[in-house]
Subunit: 141 residues, 2 copies
DNA sequence: TCTTGACCTCAAGTTGACTTGAACTGGCAG
DNA sequence: CTGCCAGTTCAAGTCAACTTGAGGTCAAGA
């Protein structure tokens, strides 16, 4: 299995070298050695990075991800935490769906103020339901 | 219509007074005057704040919200922007759904490494589809 | 009238996730 | 052997969205 240097990992993962170093610092990924002063990574790090990106998109912080993806492969994940996060996502999804519907409606509805539109209000109500539990962060392109 | 002072708005909206001042600074909300040195708000600001909270949960930044909720009421929203955001949300929702399914699966699956599990891989593939467009930020409780 | 305490302003601090800059290193082409 | 330059370290900067702190104001109650 041939090893990758940081620029290769960056190129293939779309994650900048500076971010990769940052991730290593945080314990999210590990390099397997150095050639001289330069880090070397196993190709499997690409999968880890994909998971990390996904996790971020799902609203996990890097710290959370570090916690649920321990150094070794085979993410020895805390099942309860996973299920809890899945439930969170359910909430979020329901809310975002209502948001989306509200947006589409707002784009089409002729009401002078959307606050006066029962349909809009109804979407908002659904969207706001449950006190707005957890959401997800804007991905830097 | 009786006016509200900042603490009343904070109490009824769940948004801290410091955040309300910050929002006013940013032009997201407006006070209608002062009693002495103290801001006074019209009750309608509560609806605006609800929209803002919702928008944030939907992944809009405060600047975006300021742009689509102009000072006057009756959000004169840019319909194309709304529809575009709705499409974004569709993407996000699809991705989050796959994430959630992957999480539930990971919590149940006995495979030694999830990378070796076809089901998990499949979810990830769906979740990653489309280059991860837009996501939503963690709500501060 | 005087005191109080909620509110005010403005600057600086905080957190997460990185990026950037300066100064250094070392494998490899020539 | 020598330079080049991608890579390295470490500290500091950035951005969004607020929060916190210091010091000032003023309407209302005693």
């Amino acid at each position: 299995m041939k090893l990758l240097d940081i620029s290769e990992v960056a190129r293939r993962s779309g994650v900048k070298a500076s971010a990769l170093r940052y991730y290593e610092d945080k314990g999210l990924i590990a390099s397997v050695g150095r050639r001289g002063i330069r880090r070397l990574f196993e190709p499997v790090v690409l999968q880890r990075l994909a998971l990390i990106r996904l996790g971020q998109a799902g609203g996990f912080s890097l710290d959370e991800l570090a916690a649920m993806l321990p150094p070794d492969d085979a993410p020895t994940i805390d099942r309860d935490a996973l299920l809890a996060k899945a439930d969170d996502l359910d909430q979020t999804i329901r809310r975002l769906s209502a948001m989306r519907d509200a947006l589409r409606h707002a784009a089409a509805c002729p009401a002078p103020s959307h606050f006066e539109c029962a349909t809009f209000q109804r979407y908002l109500k659904v969207a706001a339901k449950g006190g707005l539990p957890a959401a997800v962060p804007p991905l830097q392109a």
